[in-house]
């Protein structure tokens, strides 16, 4: 014990040893050192003088010059090399902004904070927000104002930025085509003189303080429709203010300390950083009585979409029965901003060095996150798995608390999911109703530890296999005939429209109209009937009670289902064998529900709502429930359209979860 020194051999700091070596060399060359010193002092003096002159010139220029000559002044700037300032105690930032057809960049004090010369991306107006006291980059956005509505997003964003921040703008390729007057006026109000006249393929850079002075603006007109304006490079200086001035004066509490940290680093989160009336970051939703999932860990899988993560965590932390201590956010990559969001809410976050690419990367991130979750919570029998682009229903935990015992006791279950693939506004009705389905919806689900540890983890697809994790989990080798429990009305809402397998069109078509429960404390109905055998009894009872619809009518027509409420109807479609989904797919298409692959089935039966009536679809003869079909009824057959015409511009087999 006495031998013990509680100080391990710590590695010498790399930088330090380099410095020491350098210092040692110089010590041996005293003369050189002297010379250097003198040189440095002289250089500094010159720098100071040039600087003072520059600042005075700039001021004068900014006030006196007209729009046209402002450009001349900037050209002058080009010829004067702005000397480096001492790094410490500096009050001035050098800013360089470049705008051109194929490349934009922004450098602050010689450090490139934006560089985009990738082909066919990054078109539009790039915006960077700097902290006016520290010069740190607080937000980086690009608005493709060549395309519609992006200018509205930009206005929204600019309005959220706090007064006093430094704003830097630069155009790549084209940024004016859909830049409407509202947006132009906002830019004008920031001090831009060029913005109101920005036109087709002009190049433009602008640096200014929100609600304050303009540090520089440069513009190059496009001479003709077919060509771009000449590249422009704006070099200017920004005067920093004191940290005090850049901060809000919220009362000193634990929460506000987190808020302060967050708000001094990032921008674009709206009222969370409002000085006067900041939005809460702690929600204290009502606890749940007899909460069976209070100690179940929650893994939030995230990438680099911090605004999504912010929205997601807000809804999660507002859900009744949430236990923040059990939440871990897993960030795929060393991104700072998502981590800032995690810390704002006082949660714990873990970063993951990306392995592999695209789908395989997501898949590896999932594996690491799930393994880590069960390592961090070794007592847990389950884990709740969420993604950063989900809204969480207020009764999410209540829903799980009422159903989780099924997952523990019924071995024929694979998961509980908060998402009903077929639960759209027009097809879901009953918040207290649950189903058993053979597909795994994901999008907010519960995983049993034994399933993960004993079955999935040991054979999880390796990085070189470019598989979607959710597709893999749905494969028969993994699922082994087990089912998931889902609610009729989803307890999660998929709001993400940017993602790996996601785009605006796809989101609009398949996710936007999804129904989402907003009623708190829903008491689930007849949960025990979801057990394997009980469910069969329940289905037989339902089918026994169901009224057979008129099979001579077109099932796509609204009139196929009578104008009633609260009744149970059944229809029979042709389904030659277990994997024959020809008619189902056509039906799903015309009902405007999920038709990209088969979801929501249980032994050849689908359950949904039409016009507030429970609507059952049975595939004959493949389904064991075919026996319920009256002999007089001929199952409906719907032909798939000819390949060419039916093709829609969506990914072949999209994975909803992986966005």
């Amino acid at each position: 014990m006495d031998e013990w020194k509680p100080n391990p051999a710590t590695k010498p700091h790399k930088k330090r040893s380099w410095y020491l070596a350098w210092k040692y060399k110089l010590m041996n060359q005293r003369a050189l050192r002297k010379l250097c010193q003198t040189g440095a002092v002289l250089f500094l003096l010159v720098t100071v003088i040039v600087n003072i002159k520059l600042i005075l010139d700039t001021r004068r220029a900014a006030y006196e010059e007209e729009e046209e000559s402002a450009q001349d002044y900037d050209d002058e700037m080009l010829n004067v090399e702005v000397p480096r300032h001492p790094v410490n105690n500096k009050k001035v930032l050098d800013v360089e902004v470049y705008s051109s057809r194929s490349k934009v960049y922004v450098a602050v004090d010689g450090t490139t904070v934006l560089e985009d010369e990738a082909r066919e991306q990054g078109r539009g107006i790039h915006v960077i927000v700097l902290n006016q006291a520290t010069g740190h980059v607080m937000a980086k956005r690009v608005f493709d104002t060549y395309s519609p509505h992006e200018d509205e997003a930009m206005v929204l964003f600019l309005n959220m930025v706090a007064r006093g921040r430094i704003l830097i703008f630069t155009i790549k390729d084209e940024g004016s085509f859909h830049l409407k007057d509202t947006a132009k006026n906002v830019l004008k109000s920031l001090g831009s003189q060029v913005a109101p006249f920005l036109s087709w393929r002009d190049m433009w850079t602008f640096v200014g303080k929100k609600g304050g002075e303009v540090y520089g603006e440069k513009h190059a007109k496009s001479p003709a429709l077919s060509t771009w304006g000449d590249p422009v490079l704006l070099k200017t200086e920004v005067h920093l203010t004191s940290v005090e001035d850049a901060e809000c004066h919220w009362p000193d509490t634990e929460l506000n300390r987190r808020r302060k940290r967050f708000c001094s680093k990032v921008e674009g989160y709206g009222s969370v950083c409002s000085c006067k009336d900041p939005t809460p970051i702690e929600f204290n939703p009502d606890p749940l009585k007899d909460n069976k999932v209070f100690n179940v860990p929650v893994a939030v899988i995230a990438g680099n979409r911090p605004n999504y993560l912010y929205r997601m965590l807000r809804s999660l932390l507002s859900a009744q029965g949430v236990n923040p201590q059990m939440i871990t956010v897993f960030i795929d990559g060393y991104y700072e901003e998502p981590m800032d969001v995690v810390e704002l809410f006082g949660l714990s976050g873990i970063q993951h060095t990306p392995i592999s690419i695209k789908n395989a990367r997501v898949s590896q991130h999932y594996k690491a996150s799930l393994t880590a979750t069960f390592n961090l919570f070794p007592d847990a029998k389950f884990a709740v798995v969420l993604e950063e682009d989900l809204d969480i229903s207020v009764d999410f935990f209540s829903f799980l608390s009422q159903s989780i015992h099924l997952l523990e006791e019924d071995e024929s279950l694979y998961c509980i999911s908060a998402w009903n693939d077929q639960g759209y506004e027009h097809t879901a009705e009953d918040p207290s109703l649950l189903y058993r389905v053979e597909t795994m919806p994901g999008l907010g689900w519960v995983l049993r530890k034994s399933l993960y540890k004993d079955e999935l983890e040991p054979k999880w697809p390796t990085p070189e296999k470019l598989w979607d994790w959710d597709m893999w989990m749905r494969m028969p080798e993994q699922r082994k005939g087990r089912e998931c429990i889902i609610p009729d009305i989803s307890r999660s809402y998929h709001f993400g429209i940017v993602g790996l397998n996601m785009n605006g069109y796809f989101h609009e078509a398949y996710f936007k109209k999804h129904k989402f429960n907003t009623v708190p404390n829903v008491q689930l109905k007849n949960v025990e009937s979801l057990r394997k055998d009980a469910y069969e009894t329940e289905i037989h009872r339902l089918l026994g009670e169901a009224e057979v619809l008129d099979h001579s009518k077109n099932p796509c027509e609204d009139s196929f289902v009578p104008d009633t409420e609260g009744k149970v109807y059944v229809m029979f479609i042709r389904m030659e064998q277990e994997a024959d989904f020809t008619t189902w797919t056509q039906l799903a298409k015309c009902l405007h529900i999920w038709d990209l692959d088969v979801r929501g089935n249980h032994k050849g039966l689908w359950r949904l709502f039409r016009k507030k009536n429970h609507f059952l679809v049975v595939g004959v003869p493949a389904s064991p429930y075919s026996s319920k079909k009256p002999s007089s009824v001929t199952p409906i057959y719907m032909e798939p359209p000819a390949k060419e015409e039916g093709a829609v511009a969506v990914p072949a087999v999209p994975a909803a979860e992986q966005t």
Binding site: P6, P8, R257, T353, A372, L376, D379, D454
Partner: protein, 426 residues
């Protein structure tokens, strides 16, 4: 109450009330912040253990004298379960207001260590709260896979004050440690309400051999870079079976109170790749012959693992093999201690030849393996090298237990008349 008491004990000579006062303040601080700590100070628990019957029978009775917290010491040690609290700035602010100076020792989270490329935030492992001449050492325990508690080593970072307290005298932190989850008892000693392990003597016993070794995850990753892991279905299946066999064996032996460790190929798998070697085909455990119990065989049979063969006898070269599920075998080797080495024996069934495997002396440490808290030799490298030679890092698929090990010695032949006893095959 405390003030009255301190007067009482202040009248006694040769004792110092500083410690008692500091502990009382500390307990006040943490109860104000609802932080459930428990006492693990070995010196106090030693004293408490002597009076445990009386303390248990009158858990809240007043103390006539200050018996435990007034012995002048530099430290008093408490434990804290990580999941029962959240470190908030408020606690430390209050501590400072009360006059405490505090020090936090953080380090990376070992629960994420085995994971490729995950970086969590560093976690607090130790806190020290100092007031006047006394310090409270608060050890943070973490639950880990394998149903046990772990505390980290105490290592100072470069900028830290090495003279903050006499660190060498601390009872916890020289090594990481592994413990069972203790049952706690709320008692009143020296008029201070404090939680202690329900059974102080078994806690102290546990403490004396609690040293924990982390698996060498980084080296294991490097190993898999050179020799990619076998991801075939067979390998996955074998690992699954080996894991469940190991869990069953651990349960059986722990219930009997027989101490065991990972040996041979299973130990090599842990040390080299932090996993079961998929082509090893069996699970190997070591047990000191002094821990041998006659009910080992019936206990395994009861657990569904029939005896496959028994070689040797308790006095010499004992080795038991049990049949697990689908051809996965559990081998238990019994180890015999000599003055300068330890050995175990082997027997060739058809010839009656005896072999001896020599190991340098070793002690046992805890580790975590396939979600199990198990023992391994602390001096693992010597152990593995003795068994597998200097090239243990290179996987070998063909292995002859009679000639391949580098520590094997020929050890004669069993007398023929003993064969029925020392070579039993089922």
């Amino acid at each position: 109450n405390g003030a009255v008491f301190s007067k009482v004990r202040g009248s006694q000579s040769g004792e110092d009330s500083t410690r008692w006062h500091v502990v009382r303040k500390f307990l006040g601080l943490i109860s104000n912040h609802n932080i459930p700590v428990y006492l693990i100070d070995p010196l106090i628990l030693g004293l408490v253990d002597k009076d445990i019957e009386r303390i248990r029978s009158s858990p809240s009775g007043p103390s006539p004298e200050c018996k435990y917290f007034c012995t002048p010491r530099d430290f008093t040690t408490f434990a804290l379960l990580d999941k029962t609290w959240k470190p908030e700035v408020g606690l430390f602010k209050t501590a400072e207001k009360m006059g405490f100076q505090w020090l936090k020792i953080i380090n990376k989270d070992p629960r994420l260590d085995g994971m490729d490329d995950l970086s969590g935030v560093e976690i607090p492992l130790h806190y020290i709260f100092k007031l006047a001449s006394h310090a409270i050492h608060l050890v943070v325990f973490y639950e880990r896979s394998g149903n046990y508690l772990w505390h980290g080593p105490l290592r100072l970072k470069q900028h830290m004050d090495r003279k903050f307290v006499p660190f060498r005298k601390l009872h916890f932190g020289r090594y990481p440690g592994a413990y069972e989850k203790p049952e706690l008892l709320l008692v009143s000693i020296d008029d201070l309400k404090v939680q202690i392990p329900k059974n102080p003597s078994s806690f102290l016993e546990e403490m004396s051999h609690s040293r924990f070794l982390e698996c060498r995850y980084r080296e294991a990753r490097a190993f898999f870079q050179v020799y990619p892991d076998d991801a075939s279905l067979d390998a996955v299946e074998f690992r699954k079976k080996a894991k469940s066999l190991l869990h069953l064996a651990a349960l059986t032996l722990n219930n009997l109170g027989v101490k065991f460790w990972l040996s041979s190929g299973t130990c090599l798998g842990w040390y080299r790749q932090c996993n079961v070697i998929p082509h090893s085909k069996d699970v190997d455990l070591g047990v000191f012959i002094r821990d041998y119990k006659a009910d080992i065989i019936p206990a395994f049979q009861k657990a569904g693992l029939p005896l496959k063969h028994k070689f040797g006898k308790v006095e010499d070269s004992l080795e038991l093999s049990f049949q697990g599920e689908d051809d996965v075998k559990l081998d238990i080797f019994f180890f015999y201690e000599e003055d300068d080495h330890i050995w175990n024996g082997g027997t060739q069934a058809k010839s009656g030849k005896k072999f001896k495997y020599l190991f340098p002396k070793f002690t046992l440490c805890w580790t975590e393996f396939v979600e199990l808290k198990v023992h391994v030799p602390c001096e693992t490298l010597q152990y593995v090298e003795a068994n597998y030679g200097p090239d243990w890092k290179v996987p070998v698929k063909t292995w002859d237990w009679k000639s391949s090990p580098s520590n094997v010695q020929y050890n004669g032949v069993w007398p023929v008349d003993e064969w029925d006893d020392v070579i039993q095959i089922y």
